[in-house]
């Protein structure tokens, strides 16, 4: 129990928020809006799973928002051109993986700090996209909407996919050797190397992985609206990092798990509607997000100092 104290405290906070919503704004729980909310967050969850892996390895990737935008727009353009969805999906994933590989190569083999590399990639991709698209939207054909299914079915499919990714990944991180390597490399890359693991390869793969997941998320985003705008991924990285950090994944690497990240994501997702129902303006969202990140990091810092002392 002590082991999962951090994750449990996030879950408690989540339950507290849900409880107060149930009491003061029961409208929050009406099925259709709730399903829509959860569906909107499904792509974010998928990316958050990847981000948790990256941060556990003691790296960071702030370019996911731009990768998301690029993949969304590219996928949208391909679909608009008549490509079958079955082909566009792997293409989007592949695109994301490709950008991830670029980041990963620079970090793993050129030994550059991931914050600066992904900062540069983030801006380059975003501005490159703006240059090419000039802010133009991509209108999507009807067959993309909800993958051609009815709205409710489509929403359930999307949520199901996100949950499926979460469960599969959580299982893999516990039960596959490579999942454990993430923790070893994130704790002490040198000791991991001496134990026979290859930290550089692991680092490269984790960036490719988050890129691929971002591509998947982009496709999931595509199915939800009639058009794609180039700004679609803006702010995604902060949202995802906040969720993951709040959920107990330490920025110093080596600890945390996906369930905590999931709880963190749900908590942060509830904050926005909770603010609305409390008649607080939406403009407080970024401030609250930032404050939550800081609180989570401070709490972790204080806790580890107490443990060490």
């Amino acid at each position: 129990m002590k082991r999962y104290f951090r994750e449990l405290s996030v879950v408690s906070a989540l339950l507290a928020v849900l409880l107060s919503l149930a009491l003061f704004a029961p409208a929050f729980f009406s099925p259709q809006p709730l399903l829509s909310l959860v569906t909107r967050e499904a792509p974010t969850l998928v990316v958050a799973c990847g981000m948790a892996c990256v941060i556990i390895t003691r790296q960071i990737d702030i370019s996911v928002g731009s990768i998301f935008s690029v993949c969304s727009v590219s996928a949208g353009l391909l679909v608009a051109r008549g490509w079958p969805l079955a082909l566009v999906l792997p293409t989007s994933i592949g695109f994301g993986a490709m950008f991830g590989a670029f980041n990963g190569f620079l970090v793993a083999f050129l030994r550059l700090p991931s914050i600066v590399v992904t900062l540069a990639t983030m801006v380059t991709l975003r501005q490159g996209l703006n240059l090419i698209r000039q802010g133009e939207f991509v209108n999507l054909p009807d067959r993309v909407q909800w993958f051609g299914l009815s709205q409710t079915t489509g929403q359930l499919v999307l949520v199901g996919t996100a949950l499926g990714v979460l469960v599969t990944l959580a299982w893999a991180m516990r039960h596959l050797a490579i999942g454990r390597y993430l923790y070893a490399v994130g704790t002490d890359a040198e000791a991991a190397r001496l134990a026979g693991i290859r930290p550089q390869l692991v680092t490269l793969l984790v960036f490719v992985f988050i890129g691929a997941l971002t591509g998947l998320g982009a496709m999931m985003n595509l199915a939800q609206s009639p058009q794609v705008q180039p700004l679609t991924g803006n702010g995604l990285e902060l949202k995802v990092i906040a969720a993951v950090v709040v959920g107990g994944v330490a920025i110093s690497g080596g600890r945390g798990n996906l369930w905590g990240a999931f709880a963190g994501l749900l908590l942060l997702a509830c904050v926005s509607p909770a603010l609305t129902h409390l008649h607080v303006e939406a403009y407080w969202e970024k401030a609250v997000q930032g404050a939550i990140i800081l609180l989570a990091v401070v709490a972790d810092g204080v806790r580890s100092r107490q443990g060490r002392a």
Binding site: V107, T124, Q127, Q134, V185, A242, W284, K286
Partner: protein, 362 residues
């Protein structure tokens, strides 16, 4: 066996003889700057129908470059000591926005005279910087995540205060003078920028503070064993960064004549790129203000020169191109800075164990 190789590697770290640093990297950058300027001069200047010169090669344009580069330049100056201590501050751009809004609000809603408003804003900027400072030095939290959090918090506060839409305008003439007019031949804000550059330059290169920053960046433990007040010095760089971001906010507001919540968005990338271009190592321990100034100049010329190129004007894509190229430039600069180390490591790899992947600092 491994110890002697390591010491050899340390001695061969590129350009770490101080006189060399001041000649090789900065000189290289200087040549790049000159070439860049010349390129834009020839490609971006033309004559209009009346036979006058327009485009890049005009005095107006050059002053504009100077004017526009002051804010990013100030942020770059603020970030140089931070990066030298092997830290980072992602919140400076957001803080610029927050301070601009606070200034507007204090003057507009508070009705205080402009100089008082400026003073209060500077104080608030330093206070915000001290939030970063406390979290990073007292709680020993990684500067990366702390400033990522404040990056969001500060911008969020700016948006919340203005309800996303309020813009403060109608500033008095003598205030706008700071941002839009000239003084003794140069744009007014250029004087402020030069003053701050001088102050930070002296601090970094001529005082014990600068020495302490360098030592902390090279070896925080070594600094501690030498009796240096590590926490106090680290706190100083972040408070300074906040203060300078506030100065940049004042200038920004004066230049545009308005204070909006999105002021300074994306500026941190340009600032970091300028600092890294200028020769400051992202890993800490080395860096110079002249280098940062050259880096700022290079980026400013790039940004503004692009806007003068006919092809870019036709596409109306000046901002996108400059962002794109700056991002690419940062990647190239980073790669170039580590390439010598990588190549020498590959050569001596079979003698020692391979160094591990860099990770976020604890």
């Amino acid at each position: 066996m491994s110890t002697t190789t390591t010491s050899a590697a340390v001695c061969n770290v590129p350009g770490r003889n101080w006189s060399k640093v001041f000649t090789s990297h900065e000189m290289l950058l200087f040549y790049v700057l000159i070439s860049e300027w010349l390129f834009f001069y020839f490609a971006g200047t033309s004559t209009n129908r009346r036979g006058g010169v327009v485009g890049f090669g005009t005095w107006d344009r050059q002053f504009d470059i100077l004017r526009h580069s002051c804010e990013i330049g100030l942020l770059a100056l603020a970030l140089t000591p931070v990066i030298i201590t092997a830290g980072i501050d992602l919140s400076v751009g957001s803080l610029l926005g927050l301070c601009a809004i606070l200034f507007g609000k204090i003057w507009h809603d508070g009705g205080v005279p402009i100089p008082v408003a400026i003073g209060l804003t500077l104080g608030l900027g330093a206070l915000a910087g001290s939030l970063n400072a406390v979290l990073i030095t007292t709680l020993r939290l990684p500067s990366l995540i702390v400033t990522l959090g404040t990056y969001s918090l500060f911008r969020g506060l700016a948006e919340a205060i203005t309800h996303g839409s309020i813009t403060y305008t109608d500033f008095p003439e003598n205030f706008l003078f700071i941002g839009q007019d000239h003084w003794l031949g140069l744009p007014t804000q250029a004087w402020v920028f030069l003053l701050v550059a001088l102050a930070i330059g002296l601090l970094l290169h001529r005082t014990t503070f600068g020495r302490a920053f360098r030592t902390i960046g090279l070896s925080p433990e070594g600094a501690r064993y030498a009796g240096l007040p590590v926490e106090r010095r680290l706190a100083l760089v972040y408070v300074l960064a906040g203060l300078i971001a506030a100065i940049a906010a004042i200038i920004y507001t004066a230049r545009l004549g308005q204070a909006k919540a999105d002021a300074g968005t994306g500026y941190e990338l340009f600032a970091i790129t300028a600092v890294v271009l200028g020769g400051t190592s992202i890993f800490g321990g080395t860096g110079s203000i002249p280098g940062t100034l050259l880096g700022v100049a290079a980026i400013a010329v790039l940004k503004n020169g692009l806007a003068c190129l006919p092809v870019v004007m036709r596409l109306n894509a000046a901002e996108e191109m400059s962002g794109l190229l700056t991002g690419a430039l940062l990647l190239i600069a980073l790669t170039a800075s580590v390439l010598p180390k990588i190549l020498s490591t590959l050569r001596i790899r079979h003698h020692t164990s391979a160094p591990s992947t860099p990770q976020l600092p604890r």
